[in-house]
Amino acid sequence: MTAKVISGKEVAAEIRADLKKWVEELKGKGIHPGLGVILVGEDPASVSYVTSKSQGCEEIGIFDDLIRVPADTSEEEVLNMVEKMNNDPKYSGILVQLPLPDHIDEEKVVNAIAPEKDVDGFHPVNQGLLLRGEPCPLPCTAYGVQKMLMVSGNDPSGKHVVICGRSNIVGKPLAAMMMQKAEGGNATVTVVHTGTKDPAYYTKQADILVAAMGKPEAITADMVKDGAIVIDVGVNRIDDPSKKKGFRLVGDVEYDPVAEKASYITPVPGGVGPMTVTMLLYNTVECAERIGQAK
Protein backbone atom coordinates (compact mmCIF):
# COMPACT_ATOMS: atom_id res chain seq x y z
CA MET A 1 0.00 0.00 0.00
CA THR A 2 1.23 3.49 -0.73
CA ALA A 3 -0.18 6.13 1.52
CA LYS A 4 -2.34 8.99 0.38
CA VAL A 5 -0.75 12.25 1.40
CA ILE A 6 -2.81 14.58 3.61
CA SER A 7 -1.51 17.96 2.58
CA GLY A 8 -1.64 20.48 5.39
CA LYS A 9 -1.37 23.24 2.82
CA GLU A 10 -4.50 22.07 1.03
CA VAL A 11 -6.52 21.46 4.19
CA ALA A 12 -5.38 24.82 5.56
CA ALA A 13 -6.43 26.53 2.33
CA GLU A 14 -9.89 24.95 2.55
CA ILE A 15 -10.29 26.03 6.16
CA ARG A 16 -9.14 29.56 5.33
CA ALA A 17 -11.70 29.74 2.54
CA ASP A 18 -14.40 28.70 5.02
CA LEU A 19 -13.09 31.19 7.56
CA LYS A 20 -13.38 33.98 5.03
CA LYS A 21 -17.08 33.23 4.60
CA TRP A 22 -17.58 32.86 8.34
CA VAL A 23 -15.91 36.25 8.94
CA GLU A 24 -18.26 37.85 6.38
CA GLU A 25 -21.26 36.37 8.16
CA LEU A 26 -20.06 37.60 11.54
CA LYS A 27 -19.41 41.07 10.20
CA GLY A 28 -23.00 41.08 8.97
CA LYS A 29 -24.02 40.56 12.61
CA GLY A 30 -21.75 43.34 13.78
CA ILE A 31 -19.05 41.02 15.09
CA HIS A 32 -15.55 41.94 13.91
CA PRO A 33 -12.85 39.40 14.81
CA GLY A 34 -9.39 40.81 15.44
CA LEU A 35 -6.04 39.46 16.56
CA GLY A 36 -3.59 41.29 18.79
CA VAL A 37 -0.03 40.00 18.70
CA ILE A 38 2.73 41.04 21.08
CA LEU A 39 6.28 40.31 20.01
CA VAL A 40 9.07 41.04 22.44
CA GLY A 41 12.54 41.12 20.88
CA GLU A 42 13.85 40.19 17.45
CA ASP A 43 14.14 36.39 17.49
CA PRO A 44 14.12 35.53 13.75
CA ALA A 45 11.90 32.44 14.10
CA SER A 46 9.38 34.45 16.13
CA VAL A 47 9.43 37.29 13.59
CA SER A 48 8.70 34.79 10.83
CA TYR A 49 5.82 33.24 12.83
CA VAL A 50 4.12 36.52 13.58
CA THR A 51 4.52 37.60 9.96
CA SER A 52 2.71 34.49 8.73
CA LYS A 53 -0.02 35.13 11.31
CA SER A 54 -0.50 38.70 10.06
CA GLN A 55 -0.66 37.46 6.46
CA GLY A 56 -3.26 34.91 7.50
CA CYS A 57 -5.40 37.58 9.13
CA GLU A 58 -5.27 39.65 5.98
CA GLU A 59 -6.17 36.63 3.86
CA ILE A 60 -9.35 35.86 5.82
CA GLY A 61 -10.31 39.49 6.16
CA ILE A 62 -9.81 40.19 9.85
CA PHE A 63 -8.13 43.01 11.66
CA ASP A 64 -4.71 42.38 13.13
CA ASP A 65 -2.40 44.42 15.22
CA LEU A 66 1.24 43.56 15.78
CA ILE A 67 2.93 45.30 18.66
CA ARG A 68 6.70 44.94 18.52
CA VAL A 69 8.72 46.01 21.52
CA PRO A 70 12.44 45.70 22.28
CA ALA A 71 13.87 42.69 24.12
CA ASP A 72 14.53 44.73 27.27
CA THR A 73 10.85 45.64 27.78
CA SER A 74 9.89 45.00 31.39
CA GLU A 75 7.45 42.32 32.52
CA GLU A 76 5.17 45.01 33.88
CA GLU A 77 4.99 46.75 30.51
CA VAL A 78 4.12 43.48 28.76
CA LEU A 79 1.44 42.78 31.37
CA ASN A 80 0.04 46.26 30.81
CA MET A 81 -0.16 45.68 27.06
CA VAL A 82 -2.00 42.40 27.66
CA GLU A 83 -4.39 44.10 30.06
CA LYS A 84 -5.17 46.80 27.50
CA MET A 85 -5.95 44.17 24.86
CA ASN A 86 -8.08 42.25 27.36
CA ASN A 87 -10.26 45.31 27.80
CA ASP A 88 -10.37 46.38 24.17
CA PRO A 89 -13.30 44.82 22.27
CA LYS A 90 -11.52 45.14 18.91
CA TYR A 91 -9.36 42.16 19.87
CA SER A 92 -11.14 38.81 19.95
CA GLY A 93 -7.82 37.01 20.17
CA ILE A 94 -4.57 37.83 21.94
CA LEU A 95 -1.28 36.16 21.32
CA VAL A 96 1.98 36.76 23.10
CA GLN A 97 4.67 35.17 20.95
CA LEU A 98 6.75 32.71 22.95
CA PRO A 99 9.50 32.33 23.98
CA LEU A 100 9.80 35.54 25.96
CA PRO A 101 13.14 36.97 27.14
CA ASP A 102 14.43 35.41 30.37
CA HIS A 103 13.58 38.35 32.61
CA ILE A 104 9.86 37.91 31.87
CA ASP A 105 7.82 35.18 33.59
CA GLU A 106 6.05 33.42 30.70
CA GLU A 107 3.51 31.69 32.90
CA LYS A 108 2.53 34.97 34.50
CA VAL A 109 2.03 36.59 31.10
CA VAL A 110 0.04 33.67 29.64
CA ASN A 111 -2.16 33.62 32.77
CA ALA A 112 -2.81 37.35 32.38
CA ILE A 113 -4.54 36.88 29.00
CA ALA A 114 -8.33 36.86 29.31
CA PRO A 115 -9.24 33.15 28.86
CA GLU A 116 -11.95 33.96 26.31
CA LYS A 117 -9.30 35.67 24.11
CA ASP A 118 -6.54 33.11 24.66
CA VAL A 119 -6.20 31.86 21.08
CA ASP A 120 -3.23 29.60 21.91
CA GLY A 121 -5.40 27.70 24.40
CA PHE A 122 -2.61 27.62 27.02
CA HIS A 123 -4.41 29.49 29.83
CA PRO A 124 -5.07 27.21 32.84
CA VAL A 125 -8.80 27.92 32.61
CA ASN A 126 -8.83 26.76 28.99
CA GLN A 127 -6.79 23.69 29.85
CA GLY A 128 -9.38 22.90 32.51
CA LEU A 129 -12.24 23.39 30.06
CA LEU A 130 -10.43 21.20 27.54
CA LEU A 131 -9.98 18.38 30.04
CA ARG A 132 -13.66 18.64 30.93
CA GLY A 133 -14.70 18.74 27.28
CA GLU A 134 -16.33 22.16 27.46
CA PRO A 135 -16.12 24.77 24.66
CA CYS A 136 -12.83 26.69 24.70
CA PRO A 137 -10.04 27.73 22.33
CA LEU A 138 -8.14 24.50 21.65
CA PRO A 139 -4.32 24.40 21.42
CA CYS A 140 -3.63 25.08 17.73
CA THR A 141 -1.38 22.16 16.80
CA ALA A 142 -3.60 19.53 18.40
CA TYR A 143 -6.65 21.19 16.86
CA GLY A 144 -4.92 21.11 13.46
CA VAL A 145 -4.29 17.38 13.79
CA GLN A 146 -7.96 16.76 14.58
CA LYS A 147 -9.10 18.85 11.59
CA MET A 148 -6.73 17.02 9.23
CA LEU A 149 -8.16 13.69 10.34
CA MET A 150 -11.74 14.84 9.90
CA VAL A 151 -11.21 16.55 6.54
CA SER A 152 -9.40 13.52 5.12
CA GLY A 153 -12.33 11.29 6.11
CA ASN A 154 -10.54 9.61 9.00
CA ASP A 155 -12.95 10.17 11.88
CA PRO A 156 -11.19 8.88 15.02
CA SER A 157 -14.43 7.55 16.51
CA GLY A 158 -13.97 3.93 17.60
CA LYS A 159 -10.36 3.89 16.37
CA HIS A 160 -7.29 3.26 18.46
CA VAL A 161 -5.27 6.49 18.47
CA VAL A 162 -1.72 6.14 19.75
CA ILE A 163 -0.05 9.45 20.60
CA CYS A 164 3.71 9.52 21.04
CA GLY A 165 4.57 12.42 23.34
CA ARG A 166 2.85 13.88 26.42
CA SER A 167 3.63 17.60 26.18
CA ASN A 168 1.17 20.16 27.52
CA ILE A 169 0.93 21.79 24.09
CA VAL A 170 0.42 18.78 21.81
CA GLY A 171 0.33 15.29 23.30
CA LYS A 172 -1.92 15.82 26.31
CA PRO A 173 -4.43 18.20 24.70
CA LEU A 174 -4.73 15.89 21.71
CA ALA A 175 -5.29 12.90 24.00
CA ALA A 176 -8.07 14.81 25.77
CA MET A 177 -9.67 15.80 22.44
CA MET A 178 -9.47 12.31 20.96
CA MET A 179 -11.09 10.61 23.99
CA GLN A 180 -13.86 13.21 24.34
CA LYS A 181 -17.46 12.15 23.88
CA ALA A 182 -17.91 14.56 20.96
CA GLU A 183 -17.53 14.86 17.22
CA GLY A 184 -13.91 14.35 16.26
CA GLY A 185 -13.38 12.29 19.42
CA ASN A 186 -14.68 8.97 20.77
CA ALA A 187 -11.37 7.22 20.12
CA THR A 188 -9.60 4.74 22.34
CA VAL A 189 -6.45 6.66 23.22
CA THR A 190 -3.02 5.48 24.29
CA VAL A 191 -0.28 7.92 25.30
CA VAL A 192 3.25 6.64 24.76
CA HIS A 193 6.26 8.58 26.08
CA THR A 194 9.90 8.41 27.15
CA GLY A 195 8.93 6.24 30.13
CA THR A 196 7.26 3.63 27.92
CA LYS A 197 8.84 0.23 27.69
CA ASP A 198 8.86 -1.00 24.09
CA PRO A 199 7.04 1.88 22.32
CA ALA A 200 6.80 -0.21 19.12
CA TYR A 201 4.50 -2.63 20.92
CA TYR A 202 1.93 0.16 21.20
CA THR A 203 2.57 2.01 17.95
CA LYS A 204 1.97 -1.20 15.99
CA GLN A 205 -1.54 -1.33 17.45
CA ALA A 206 -2.44 2.15 16.23
CA ASP A 207 -5.17 2.74 13.68
CA ILE A 208 -4.12 6.38 13.91
CA LEU A 209 -0.54 7.08 14.96
CA VAL A 210 0.45 10.60 16.01
CA ALA A 211 4.17 11.30 16.33
CA ALA A 212 4.77 14.31 18.57
CA MET A 213 7.89 13.54 20.54
CA GLY A 214 10.42 15.73 18.74
CA LYS A 215 12.85 12.98 17.73
CA PRO A 216 13.95 13.03 14.08
CA GLU A 217 12.65 10.03 12.11
CA ALA A 218 12.16 7.94 15.25
CA ILE A 219 9.03 6.20 13.94
CA THR A 220 10.28 3.56 11.53
CA ALA A 221 8.28 1.30 9.22
CA ASP A 222 8.51 -1.70 11.55
CA MET A 223 6.66 0.35 14.20
CA VAL A 224 3.63 0.94 11.97
CA LYS A 225 0.70 -1.32 11.21
CA ASP A 226 -0.27 -1.88 7.58
CA GLY A 227 -2.91 0.62 6.57
CA ALA A 228 -2.42 2.91 9.58
CA ILE A 229 -3.03 6.65 9.39
CA VAL A 230 0.19 8.44 10.34
CA ILE A 231 0.24 12.07 11.48
CA ASP A 232 3.67 13.61 11.92
CA VAL A 233 3.79 16.63 14.23
CA GLY A 234 7.58 16.76 14.50
CA VAL A 235 9.72 19.41 12.86
CA ASN A 236 13.43 18.71 13.26
CA ARG A 237 16.47 20.21 11.58
CA ILE A 238 19.10 17.73 10.54
CA ASP A 239 22.45 18.57 8.96
CA ASP A 240 22.54 18.18 5.20
CA PRO A 241 25.58 19.67 3.43
CA SER A 242 23.89 19.14 0.06
CA LYS A 243 21.33 21.83 0.94
CA LYS A 244 22.04 25.52 0.56
CA LYS A 245 21.16 26.22 4.18
CA GLY A 246 23.19 23.22 5.34
CA PHE A 247 20.18 21.48 6.88
CA ARG A 248 16.83 20.02 5.96
CA LEU A 249 13.60 19.58 7.87
CA VAL A 250 12.40 16.13 8.81
CA GLY A 251 9.53 14.93 10.94
CA ASP A 252 9.41 12.39 13.76
CA VAL A 253 8.52 9.75 11.15
CA GLU A 254 10.88 8.11 8.66
CA TYR A 255 8.77 9.20 5.75
CA ASP A 256 9.49 7.04 2.68
CA PRO A 257 9.38 3.55 4.21
CA VAL A 258 6.42 4.44 6.45
CA ALA A 259 4.51 5.88 3.47
CA GLU A 260 4.82 2.45 1.83
CA LYS A 261 2.86 0.89 4.69
CA ALA A 262 0.42 3.55 5.82
CA SER A 263 -2.94 4.35 4.24
CA TYR A 264 -2.60 8.08 4.94
CA ILE A 265 0.39 10.16 5.94
CA THR A 266 1.25 13.80 6.53
CA PRO A 267 4.50 15.16 5.10
CA VAL A 268 7.09 17.41 6.78
CA PRO A 269 7.19 20.21 5.80
CA GLY A 270 3.73 20.93 4.42
CA GLY A 271 1.77 18.75 6.83
CA VAL A 272 0.75 19.71 10.34
CA GLY A 273 2.91 22.89 10.23
CA PRO A 274 0.65 25.00 7.98
CA MET A 275 -2.36 23.90 10.05
CA THR A 276 -1.10 25.49 13.26
CA VAL A 277 -1.29 29.09 12.07
CA THR A 278 -4.61 28.38 10.37
CA MET A 279 -6.11 27.04 13.59
CA LEU A 280 -4.89 30.16 15.37
CA LEU A 281 -6.94 32.17 12.88
CA TYR A 282 -9.81 29.77 13.42
CA ASN A 283 -9.63 30.31 17.18
CA THR A 284 -9.58 34.09 16.68
CA VAL A 285 -12.79 33.94 14.66
CA GLU A 286 -14.41 31.38 16.97
CA CYS A 287 -13.52 33.50 20.05
CA ALA A 288 -15.14 36.52 18.38
CA GLU A 289 -18.31 34.56 17.81
CA ARG A 290 -18.33 33.19 21.37
CA ILE A 291 -17.72 36.63 22.89
CA GLY A 292 -20.39 38.09 20.59
CA GLN A 293 -22.93 35.47 21.64
CA ALA A 294 -22.20 35.95 25.32
CA LYS A 295 -23.09 39.63 25.12
Partner: protein, 285 residues
Protein backbone atom coordinates in the same frame (compact mmCIF):
# COMPACT_ATOMS: atom_id res chain seq x y z
CA UNK B 1 -6.71 -16.13 44.25
CA UNK B 2 -5.97 -12.46 44.01
CA UNK B 3 -4.43 -10.54 46.88
CA UNK B 4 -7.15 -8.09 47.96
CA UNK B 5 -5.99 -4.49 48.09
CA UNK B 6 -8.24 -3.39 50.90
CA UNK B 7 -8.84 0.22 51.73
CA UNK B 8 -8.70 -0.14 55.51
CA UNK B 9 -4.92 -0.44 56.01
CA UNK B 10 -4.43 2.48 53.60
CA UNK B 11 -6.89 4.54 55.60
CA UNK B 12 -5.21 3.62 58.89
CA UNK B 13 -1.75 4.70 57.68
CA UNK B 14 -3.02 7.91 56.13
CA UNK B 15 -4.98 8.80 59.25
CA UNK B 16 -1.98 8.26 61.48
CA UNK B 17 0.14 10.56 59.36
CA UNK B 18 -2.58 13.19 59.10
CA UNK B 19 -3.25 13.15 62.86
CA UNK B 20 0.41 13.97 63.46
CA UNK B 21 0.39 16.79 60.96
CA UNK B 22 -2.79 18.28 62.39
CA UNK B 23 -1.32 18.00 65.88
CA UNK B 24 1.71 19.96 64.68
CA UNK B 25 -0.47 22.66 63.15
CA UNK B 26 -2.44 22.97 66.36
CA UNK B 27 0.73 23.31 68.40
CA UNK B 28 1.48 26.35 66.25
CA UNK B 29 -1.99 27.75 66.86
CA UNK B 30 -3.34 26.83 63.42
CA UNK B 31 -6.59 24.87 63.15
CA UNK B 32 -6.93 23.15 59.76
CA UNK B 33 -10.59 23.23 58.81
CA UNK B 34 -12.89 21.88 56.12
CA UNK B 35 -16.07 23.71 55.16
CA UNK B 36 -18.83 21.60 53.62
CA UNK B 37 -21.53 23.30 51.60
CA UNK B 38 -24.82 21.48 51.29
CA UNK B 39 -27.99 22.68 49.58
CA UNK B 40 -31.05 20.68 50.54
CA UNK B 41 -30.82 17.26 52.19
CA UNK B 42 -30.35 14.51 49.61
CA UNK B 43 -29.77 11.13 51.26
CA UNK B 44 -26.55 10.54 49.23
CA UNK B 45 -25.12 13.85 50.36
CA UNK B 46 -26.07 13.22 53.98
CA UNK B 47 -24.45 9.80 53.83
CA UNK B 48 -21.21 11.21 52.41
CA UNK B 49 -21.33 14.05 54.93
CA UNK B 50 -21.59 11.51 57.72
CA UNK B 51 -18.51 9.65 56.59
CA UNK B 52 -16.54 12.88 56.17
CA UNK B 53 -17.52 13.90 59.69
CA UNK B 54 -16.34 10.58 61.03
CA UNK B 55 -13.03 10.81 59.20
CA UNK B 56 -12.42 14.38 60.35
CA UNK B 57 -13.36 13.51 63.92
CA UNK B 58 -10.91 10.61 63.95
CA UNK B 59 -7.93 12.80 63.07
CA UNK B 60 -8.84 16.06 64.81
CA UNK B 61 -9.60 17.95 61.63
CA UNK B 62 -12.13 20.69 62.18
CA UNK B 63 -15.27 20.44 60.13
CA UNK B 64 -18.29 22.67 59.64
CA UNK B 65 -21.37 22.11 57.51
CA UNK B 66 -23.06 25.13 55.94
CA UNK B 67 -26.57 24.11 55.09
CA UNK B 68 -28.83 25.99 52.70
CA UNK B 69 -32.51 25.41 51.93
CA UNK B 70 -33.22 23.72 48.63
CA UNK B 71 -34.98 26.83 47.30
CA UNK B 72 -32.15 29.23 48.20
CA UNK B 73 -31.94 32.20 45.84
CA UNK B 74 -28.92 32.53 43.59
CA UNK B 75 -28.11 35.97 44.93
CA UNK B 76 -28.37 35.00 48.59
CA UNK B 77 -26.42 31.81 48.05
CA UNK B 78 -23.60 33.62 46.24
CA UNK B 79 -23.37 36.21 48.98
CA UNK B 80 -23.17 33.66 51.82
CA UNK B 81 -20.83 31.43 49.85
CA UNK B 82 -18.40 34.28 49.25
CA UNK B 83 -18.19 34.92 52.99
CA UNK B 84 -17.58 31.24 53.71
CA UNK B 85 -14.96 30.60 51.04
CA UNK B 86 -13.06 33.77 51.88
CA UNK B 87 -12.94 33.08 55.60
CA UNK B 88 -9.32 32.72 56.74
CA UNK B 89 -10.36 29.99 59.18
CA UNK B 90 -11.47 27.63 56.43
CA UNK B 91 -8.72 25.99 54.38
CA UNK B 92 -10.69 23.60 52.20
CA UNK B 93 -14.16 23.67 50.67
CA UNK B 94 -16.33 20.80 49.55
CA UNK B 95 -19.65 21.53 47.89
CA UNK B 96 -22.11 18.76 47.16
CA UNK B 97 -23.10 18.65 43.52
CA UNK B 98 -25.20 18.80 41.48
CA UNK B 99 -26.91 21.87 42.88
CA UNK B 100 -30.67 22.33 42.44
CA UNK B 101 -31.48 23.21 38.83
CA UNK B 102 -32.56 26.80 39.48
CA UNK B 103 -29.03 27.71 40.54
CA UNK B 104 -26.27 28.68 38.08
CA UNK B 105 -23.84 25.98 39.09
CA UNK B 106 -20.83 26.97 36.93
CA UNK B 107 -21.00 30.50 38.31
CA UNK B 108 -21.23 29.24 41.87
CA UNK B 109 -18.40 26.76 41.48
CA UNK B 110 -16.20 29.52 40.13
CA UNK B 111 -16.51 31.33 43.48
CA UNK B 112 -14.43 28.66 45.19
CA UNK B 113 -10.79 29.79 45.29
CA UNK B 114 -8.55 27.23 43.56
CA UNK B 115 -6.26 27.01 46.60
CA UNK B 116 -9.23 25.83 48.72
CA UNK B 117 -10.78 23.63 46.06
CA UNK B 118 -9.94 20.26 47.64
CA UNK B 119 -12.13 18.15 45.33
CA UNK B 120 -11.46 19.76 41.94
CA UNK B 121 -14.82 21.49 41.55
CA UNK B 122 -13.44 24.44 39.59
CA UNK B 123 -12.17 24.81 36.04
CA UNK B 124 -9.00 26.37 37.44
CA UNK B 125 -8.21 23.21 39.42
CA UNK B 126 -8.89 21.00 36.39
CA UNK B 127 -6.45 23.11 34.38
CA UNK B 128 -3.76 22.74 37.03
CA UNK B 129 -4.29 19.00 37.17
CA UNK B 130 -4.02 18.81 33.39
CA UNK B 131 -0.78 20.80 33.37
CA UNK B 132 0.73 18.77 36.27
CA UNK B 133 0.79 21.84 38.50
CA UNK B 134 1.10 20.43 42.05
CA UNK B 135 -0.84 23.35 43.56
CA UNK B 136 -4.08 22.09 41.97
CA UNK B 137 -5.97 19.31 43.78
CA UNK B 138 -7.18 16.40 41.62
CA UNK B 139 -10.60 14.93 42.46
CA UNK B 140 -10.52 12.70 45.54
CA UNK B 141 -11.52 9.41 43.89
CA UNK B 142 -8.67 9.06 41.36
CA UNK B 143 -6.28 10.30 44.06
CA UNK B 144 -7.58 7.52 46.33
CA UNK B 145 -6.71 4.99 43.58
CA UNK B 146 -3.17 6.37 43.54
CA UNK B 147 -2.96 6.09 47.35
CA UNK B 148 -3.91 2.42 47.12
CA UNK B 149 -1.42 1.82 44.32
CA UNK B 150 1.35 3.48 46.34
CA UNK B 151 0.43 1.83 49.63
CA UNK B 152 0.67 -1.65 48.16
CA UNK B 153 3.93 -0.86 46.37
CA UNK B 154 2.60 -1.33 42.86
CA UNK B 155 5.18 -0.06 40.41
CA UNK B 156 3.75 2.05 37.58
CA UNK B 157 6.98 2.99 35.84
CA UNK B 158 6.83 1.67 32.28
CA UNK B 159 3.68 -0.34 33.01
CA UNK B 160 0.61 -0.34 30.82
CA UNK B 161 -2.32 1.19 32.68
CA UNK B 162 -5.75 0.93 31.10
CA UNK B 163 -8.49 3.23 32.38
CA UNK B 164 -11.99 2.03 31.60
CA UNK B 165 -14.29 5.06 31.58
CA UNK B 166 -13.74 8.70 30.64
CA UNK B 167 -15.74 10.61 33.25
CA UNK B 168 -14.76 14.06 34.49
CA UNK B 169 -14.41 12.97 38.08
CA UNK B 170 -12.53 9.72 37.58
CA UNK B 171 -11.44 8.55 34.13
CA UNK B 172 -9.86 11.68 32.70
CA UNK B 173 -7.99 12.88 35.80
CA UNK B 174 -6.96 9.27 36.49
CA UNK B 175 -5.25 9.13 33.09
CA UNK B 176 -3.32 12.31 33.91
CA UNK B 177 -2.22 11.01 37.33
CA UNK B 178 -1.04 7.71 35.86
CA UNK B 179 0.93 9.52 33.13
CA UNK B 180 2.71 11.52 35.85
CA UNK B 181 3.98 8.25 37.29
CA UNK B 182 5.34 7.23 33.88
CA UNK B 183 2.77 4.59 33.10
CA UNK B 184 1.84 4.14 29.45
CA UNK B 185 -1.85 4.99 29.58
CA UNK B 186 -4.79 3.83 27.48
CA UNK B 187 -8.27 5.28 27.98
CA UNK B 188 -11.13 3.15 26.74
CA UNK B 189 -14.88 3.53 26.98
CA UNK B 190 -18.25 2.56 25.59
CA UNK B 191 -17.18 3.42 22.02
CA UNK B 192 -14.07 1.26 22.15
CA UNK B 193 -13.96 -1.71 19.81
CA UNK B 194 -13.14 -5.03 21.50
CA UNK B 195 -13.31 -3.55 24.97
CA UNK B 196 -12.51 -6.86 26.71
CA UNK B 197 -9.38 -7.29 24.57
CA UNK B 198 -8.16 -3.77 25.35
CA UNK B 199 -8.69 -4.36 29.08
CA UNK B 200 -6.80 -7.66 28.88
CA UNK B 201 -3.76 -5.75 27.59
CA UNK B 202 -3.40 -3.93 30.92
CA UNK B 203 -0.83 -4.49 33.62
CA UNK B 204 -3.04 -2.26 35.76
CA UNK B 205 -6.73 -1.96 34.99
CA UNK B 206 -8.80 0.83 36.55
CA UNK B 207 -12.53 0.19 36.17
CA UNK B 208 -14.52 3.41 36.43
CA UNK B 209 -17.40 2.87 34.09
CA UNK B 210 -20.41 2.84 36.42
CA UNK B 211 -21.85 -0.47 35.19
CA UNK B 212 -22.54 -3.09 37.86
CA UNK B 213 -20.20 -6.11 37.53
CA UNK B 214 -19.45 -5.39 33.87
CA UNK B 215 -15.80 -6.36 34.16
CA UNK B 216 -15.86 -10.15 34.34
CA UNK B 217 -13.45 -12.94 33.50
CA UNK B 218 -13.52 -11.99 29.80
CA UNK B 219 -11.87 -8.65 30.56
CA UNK B 220 -8.92 -9.81 32.64
CA UNK B 221 -5.92 -12.10 32.59
CA UNK B 222 -3.35 -13.56 34.94
CA UNK B 223 -0.91 -11.23 36.63
CA UNK B 224 -3.03 -8.10 36.42
CA UNK B 225 -3.73 -5.53 39.09
CA UNK B 226 -7.38 -4.50 38.98
CA UNK B 227 -8.73 -1.40 40.76
CA UNK B 228 -12.50 -1.27 41.03
CA UNK B 229 -13.75 2.31 41.35
CA UNK B 230 -17.41 1.59 40.72
CA UNK B 231 -20.09 2.10 43.35
CA UNK B 232 -23.39 0.94 41.85
CA UNK B 233 -26.70 -0.08 43.26
CA UNK B 234 -26.62 -3.84 43.15
CA UNK B 235 -29.30 -5.00 40.71
CA UNK B 236 -29.41 -8.44 42.39
CA UNK B 237 -29.50 -7.23 46.00
CA UNK B 238 -31.73 -4.19 46.46
CA UNK B 239 -30.31 -1.76 48.99
CA UNK B 240 -26.76 -3.07 48.56
CA UNK B 241 -23.89 -1.77 46.49
CA UNK B 242 -21.53 -3.45 44.07
CA UNK B 243 -18.57 -2.41 41.93
CA UNK B 244 -17.87 -2.37 38.20
CA UNK B 245 -15.94 -5.61 38.63
CA UNK B 246 -17.56 -8.99 39.01
CA UNK B 247 -15.40 -9.97 41.97
CA UNK B 248 -16.39 -13.63 41.99
CA UNK B 249 -15.28 -14.27 38.43
CA UNK B 250 -12.24 -11.94 38.42
CA UNK B 251 -10.71 -12.73 41.81
CA UNK B 252 -9.51 -16.24 40.90
CA UNK B 253 -7.73 -14.96 37.79
CA UNK B 254 -5.87 -11.76 38.57
CA UNK B 255 -2.89 -11.05 40.79
CA UNK B 256 -4.30 -8.19 42.86
CA UNK B 257 -7.73 -6.65 43.21
CA UNK B 258 -8.93 -3.52 44.99
CA UNK B 259 -12.53 -4.57 45.58
CA UNK B 260 -15.64 -2.45 45.74
CA UNK B 261 -16.99 -2.07 48.32
CA UNK B 262 -13.98 -2.28 50.63
CA UNK B 263 -11.33 -0.65 48.45
CA UNK B 264 -11.16 2.81 46.90
CA UNK B 265 -14.42 4.15 48.35
CA UNK B 266 -13.25 4.23 51.96
CA UNK B 267 -10.00 5.98 51.06
CA UNK B 268 -11.77 8.86 49.30
CA UNK B 269 -12.79 10.80 52.41
CA UNK B 270 -9.30 10.48 53.89
CA UNK B 271 -7.89 11.91 50.66
CA UNK B 272 -10.27 14.81 51.13
CA UNK B 273 -8.84 15.36 54.62
CA UNK B 274 -5.30 15.08 53.26
CA UNK B 275 -6.07 17.75 50.68
CA UNK B 276 -7.42 20.07 53.40
CA UNK B 277 -4.22 19.63 55.40
CA UNK B 278 -2.12 20.33 52.32
CA UNK B 279 -4.25 23.35 51.48
CA UNK B 280 -3.76 24.61 55.04
CA UNK B 281 -0.01 24.12 54.63
CA UNK B 282 0.00 26.14 51.40
CA UNK B 283 -2.13 28.91 52.90
CA UNK B 284 -0.16 29.32 56.10
CA UNK B 285 3.42 29.20 54.84
Amino acid sequence: MAELLKGKPVVADMKEELSKKIEEFKSRGINPKLGVIRVGARPDDLYYEGSIKKTCGGIGLEFEVFEFPEDVKQEDFEKSLKDIVNSKDIHGILMFAPLPKHLDEPKIRALIPVEKDVDCLTIGSAGKVFADDPTGFPPCTPTACMEIINHYGIDLQGKHAVVLGRSLVVGKPMAVLLLRENATVTICHSRTKDLPEVCKEADILVAAVGQPRMVNADYVKEGQVVIDVGINEDPDNPGKFCGDVDTQSVEPLVDKLAPSPGGVGGVTTVVLAKHVVKACEMQTT
